[in-house]
């Protein structure tokens, strides 16, 4: 499917770049035009996402089969002929989506669109802000659609710089520290990923059907096929120590993004200092890249290592859930509390993934989507109150229920969704994740212990509601205006998604069922079996 000869995934990925270039040519002072151009391009993106959702073939599996991918575009990007001492280098521009990525593509489109509206109040260097925001958008979208590891890596890194500047220039008082911390952590993970990628590259080769020439490839699908591993290459075989090392290198790269304990310390800083819209993107989309990378790359390429590290992975999930919740409980900064609750909720994704069965992985992916929408709401909510009160101190508020009734209503929905109240989307995905993990004997006790996190989450969420809305209204907040139309406009679509998926999750689950089944099949099939490439 294509328009003007360019495939729909290229459109959805590069539209923001078009918008960015346009914005750079707009006059600096025409703030209206700059804002609405951003709205226009992100709205187009949402429309494309809706189109993709409508036309997505739910029956195709994807994961490790090229035929299972949809909206595929594949062009030769780099092609360097072989010389006697160095093989041919071939890199494709290869994009496509399957059940693992389609929800993330939709999520990215929605969150970017909402982030533009959440940025309405930005006044400083408006043009630069929106240009960077759109560049960030392209980077995120590109990560979710890439099927070539090289392309994936480029998109992965493209995000770093806009994020650095968005936090560093438009952030809060400690923005410099937060921005560089984010940059350094992520780059540290990236270089490890780079080395693992190169090792994979030299281990995998495919045969060009046209010429019969054998060459190394960055094609992710080829890397998932055990028969493509060259005998004697570094990552050939099953359960070799090099495979474990490469798996861990990749894992650290992804874990920093999630973030998984003990790599999580950049997150609270980045969140607290970032402007609202950037927090929304950070929590809504960026964190998912880590877990998406594990599902898309680590699992199918290293099924042996995945099985081997199942229990440690679950333990990390447990630590994230309980530790995140405990630390969240101790916060009296509203935004920091939400940041730590993110860590806790991403722990549920990790736990669900570590189950390696259909329920668990389905729950994990659904939780990625739901956490994206719910946490985006939470950060928007913090932004609303911060814009008015210019403080995020939870203990300074109280009794806002009567002062801001509409705000209270929407915040209650978001908070109950976050603590997993049945009927809202968070419940479904958490339930699936725990159900899946509980079935696996090896991690059953870890799952039971993790359930403690649910109670803790309920505790700090309710306590926060109480501190903000109940009790007596301090004198200084008597004039706080209620939430305005623009802010409601950013929150209501998310609230609708949260409620609908809470009552009827099938539209989301149907998208991924076949892909998840295939992924689980890959893990169980190849995990214990041997690689033929030995």
């Amino acid at each position: 499917m294509s328009f003007l000869g360019i495939g729909i995934l290229s459109w959805i990925t590069f539209l923001p770049i078009v918008g960015m270039v346009l914005i750079l040519f707009l006059p600096k002072d025409n703030k209206k035009a700059i804002r609405w151009t951003s709205v226009f391009f992100t709205a187009l993106q949402v429309m494309l996402a809706v189109f993709i959702y409508m036309n997505f073939n739910r029956g195709l599996a994807g994961v490790n089969l090229a035929e299972g991918f949809q909206y595929v575009e594949k062009f030769s990007w780099i092609d360097i002929k072989s010389v006697s001492w160095f093989g041919r280098i071939h890199i494709d521009y290869f994009v496509g989506i399957d059940g693992l990525s389609v929800l993330m593509v939709i999520l990215t489109a929605i969150i970017s669109f909402i982030a533009v509206f959440a940025s309405w109040g930005i006044e400083k260097s408006l043009r630069g802000y929106f240009a960077l925001l759109l560049l960030l958008d392209t980077g995120m979208m590109g990560v979710f659609v890439s099927l070539d590891f090289f392309l994936f890596y480029v998109f992965w890194e493209v995000m770093l710089l806009p994020m650095y500047f968005l936090i560093g220039v438009w952030g809060g008082p400690r923005r410099e520290y937060a921005a560089i911390k984010f940059f350094l952590y992520t780059l540290f993970g990236s270089v490890l990923m780079l080395l693992a990628m190169i090792a994979l590259y030299f281990s995998v080769s495919v045969i060009d059907p046209a010429t019969g020439e054998k060459f190394h490839t960055f094609n992710m699908l080829a890397m998932m096929n055990p028969t493509n591993y060259d005998p004697g290459s570094i990552l050939a075989g099953v359960g070799t120590s090099w495979r474990y090392i490469a798996f861990i290198a990749l894992f650290i790269g992804f874990a920093i993004k999630v973030p998984i304990f003990p790599f999580h310390t950049w997150l609270p800083d980045a969140h607290v200092e970032a402007p609202t819209a950037i927090s929304v993107i950070l929590a809504g989309v960026l964190l998912k890249m880590g877990t998406y990378g594990i599902l898309r790359i680590s699992y199918p390429m290293f099924p042996d290592a995945t099985l081997h590290y199942q229990v440690p992975l679950a333990v990390l999930g447990f630590i994230n859930i309980v530790y995140g919740a405990l630390v969240a409980m101790a916060q009296d900064d509203f935004k920091k509390l939400i940041a730590y609750s993110s860590i806790s909720h991403m722990g549920i994704v990790i736990l669900g993934m570590s189950a390696l069965n259909t329920q668990g992985v389905t729950g994990a992916i659904l939780q990625m989507f739901n956490h994206g929408t719910i946490t985006a709401m939470l950060f928007l909510i913090v932004g609303v109150i911060y814009d008015r009160a210019h403080t995020r101190g939870l203990n300074e508020f109280g009794g806002l229920m009567n002062q801001m009734p509409k705000y209270s209503g929407i915040m209650t929905i978001a908070f109950f969704a976050a603590l997993g109240l049945p009927g809202l989307s968070g419940f479904i995905s958490e339930a699936f994740s725990f159900l899946g993990a509980f079935q696996v004997e090896a991690i059953r006790w870890i799952t039971i212990a993790s359930a403690l996190g649910i109670v803790l989450t309920a505790a700090y969420m309710l306590w926060t509601l109480q501190r903000v809305f109940l009790g007596s209204l301090p004198e200084k907040w008597k004039s706080l205006p209620d939430i305005n139309g623009r802010e409601l406009f950013t929150l209501i679509p998310l609230a609708i998604i949260v409620i609908i998926l809470g009552i009827y999750p099938s539209p989301a689950i149907n998208l991924m069922t076949s892909a998840v089944n295939t992924l689980v099949g890959v893990l169980n099939q190849h995990g214990g079996a041997m690689f033929l490439g030995q």
Partner: protein
């Protein structure tokens, strides 16, 4: 004999052009004393003509000329191209460098010396005889000493020149001593002859090791590898910015070209496969590969760590160039064609990004009169164009895609992983993370801090924008589409006398 010389001259046209234009510029300087720009244009034109003859050389194939003093091969052609391009850009920079115009009496000598320096470096790339190597090295060093101190009214410039001479004289003295020992052992100053002697004669291992180490000192000084780097920060800081840029790119390229040719021709046993550990075996005594790896690790790590605390941007870039020498040495550790090609790819990339960074420093220093990082506050808002250009160059130096610097690092790491030297790849990768911190410190000052209240926005002329774009475009485009540079580098690894 005369016949041989006349024959050789045919393959020596690029160098001849440089020699002739040096003389012409000196004369022109006497004639047009007032209109100093004439010499600048003459120098630029001579480099264009030299490039033209360099292009013709492409079809000459592989030859050894002047009684095996000098090799004409794709390998030297590649490095000549790098050096001449770098000199060309530096002369362009110099055209409107306020530092040169205001602090010196005319630029005629300057232009002549840059051409002489270029000649010296070009000769280094092809030298296959230890004496020729030494002479070429001295020609480039002596001119560099003068150029480093060219703004002689500035105190730090004279200091830089003096330090440079002392370090340079010492290192080349030690190198010469090493060469003489090697000559004594093998009876030859021709590197192919030395190779033969090493292959087939039984030589005193201890003396060989001493000679080897002494020669490495000379090379290490030229490429400013740790621990022979002590001159670098002071010289880079004190010299005129244009000269610093030239030293950091062209001089390093020439040093690497000579080092690669010397090691590869002399010490490698071509009969043993490209990647086998036995290929160093003919040079017994020490694990040479390990020594190179240690030099590489030290250069990257010390360069990066010291750069973290620098306040002067030129000095910071000096330490960063030490670190980059370390990265490039990683390719030399591999020493297979793959490793050499990676170094060459890195040089193309490094040419644009490093010259670009120095050019931005020069443009800003010309306007605010400072190279202090703290004075860069809000520079991104005072001149968005310079800010964005600097961002691109610094990201590229860090090695973040989609800039060309990433491709350079990718190939270096690839060659290491392909040769299964994983530990060095990991050290190199972690070093890139360290380097991010100080490169970003510049960006932080430029964008994250507001300019001082009375700061004006900077005016940049059209021609300066044009030169800047000439450097920015390759830095980005080669990151997105790197087929041409890889093909060029892969086609250029062929050296005279090596299969």
């Amino acid at each position: 004999m005369l016949d041989q010389i006349l024959q050789s001259l045919k393959y020596f046209q690029t160098e001849t052009v440089l020699v002739v234009s040096f003389c012409v510029i000196v004369l022109a300087d006497l004639i047009f004393r007032k209109k100093s720009n004439v010499t600048s244009y003459l120098a630029l034109i001579s480099l264009v003509v030299a490039t033209y003859y360099l292009g013709l050389q492409g079809s000459d194939g592989i030859k050894s000329i002047f009684f095996n003093m000098f090799a004409v091969d794709p390998f030297s052609l590649f490095f000549k191209a790098i050096i001449i391009t770098a000199s060309f850009f530096v002369l362009l920079f110099s055209l409107n460098s306020k530092e040169l115009v205001s602090k010196t009496r005319g630029v005629g000598e300057y232009n002549a010396l840059v051409i002489a320096l270029t000649l010296g470096m070009v000769l280094m790339t092809g030298a296959t005889n230890l004496l020729m190597m030494y002479l070429a090295l001295e020609l480039s060093s002596l001119t560099s000493y003068i150029l480093a101190g060219y703004t002689k009214d500035a105190e730090d410039s004279s200091e830089a020149s003096l330090k440079y001479i002392i370090y340079g004289a010492l290192s080349s003295g030690i190198m010469l001593y090493g060469i003489s020992i090697l000559y004594g052992l093998t009876g030859s100053v021709d590197i192919y002859g030395i190779h033969q002697a090493l292959m087939f004669q039984h030589l005193n291992t201890a003396a060989l090791v001493v000679a080897g180490i002494f020669i490495v000192v000379g090379f290490g000084y030229k490429i400013s590898a740790v621990p022979f780097h002590f001159w670098t920060p002071d010289v880079y800081e004190g010299s005129p910015i244009t000269i610093t840029a030239l030293l950091s790119v062209a001089s390093k390229a020439a040093g690497f070209a000579m080092l690669i040719r010397f090691t590869k021709v002399t010490f490698i046993n071509p009969a043993i496969g490209n990647l086998d550990p036995g290929m160093w075996d003919i040079f017994k005594g020490i694990d040479w590969r390990f020594i190179l790896a240690i030099l590489s690790v030290l250069s990257m790590t010390i360069g990066n760590l010291v750069a973290l605390s620098q306040k002067n941007l030129k000095r910071l870039l000096a330490y960063s160039s030490i670190a980059h020498a370390g990265y490039m040495l990683m390719g030399l550790v591999v020493l297979s064609n793959e490793g050499i090609a990676a170094v060459m790819i890195y040089f193309i990339v490094y040419l644009f990004m490093n010259l670009g960074a120095f050019y931005v420093v020069m443009l800003i220093a010309d306007r605010i009169g400072s190279e202090n990082i703290d004075d860069y506050r809000g520079m991104g808002f005072r001149s968005p164009l310079l800010g964005v250009a600097m961002t691109i160059f610094l990201l590229s130096l860090t090695g973040i895609p989609p800039t060309a610097g990433f491709i350079g690092k990718l190939y270096l790491f690839s060659s290491l992983i392909s040769a299964k030297i994983f530990w060095l790849a990991i050290v190199g990768a972690l070093n890139s993370v360290v380097s991010l911190y100080y490169y970003v410190r510049v960006l932080r000052n430029m964008f994250l801090r507001d300019p001082q209240a009375n700061a004006q926005s900077l005016q940049i002329s059209f021609i300066e924008v044009f030169i800047l774009i000439l450097l920015v475009l390759p830095t980005i485009l080669l990151g997105l589409y790197f087929t041409p540079i890889v093909e060029f580098a892969q086609a250029s690894v062929t050296m005279f006398g090596i299969q």
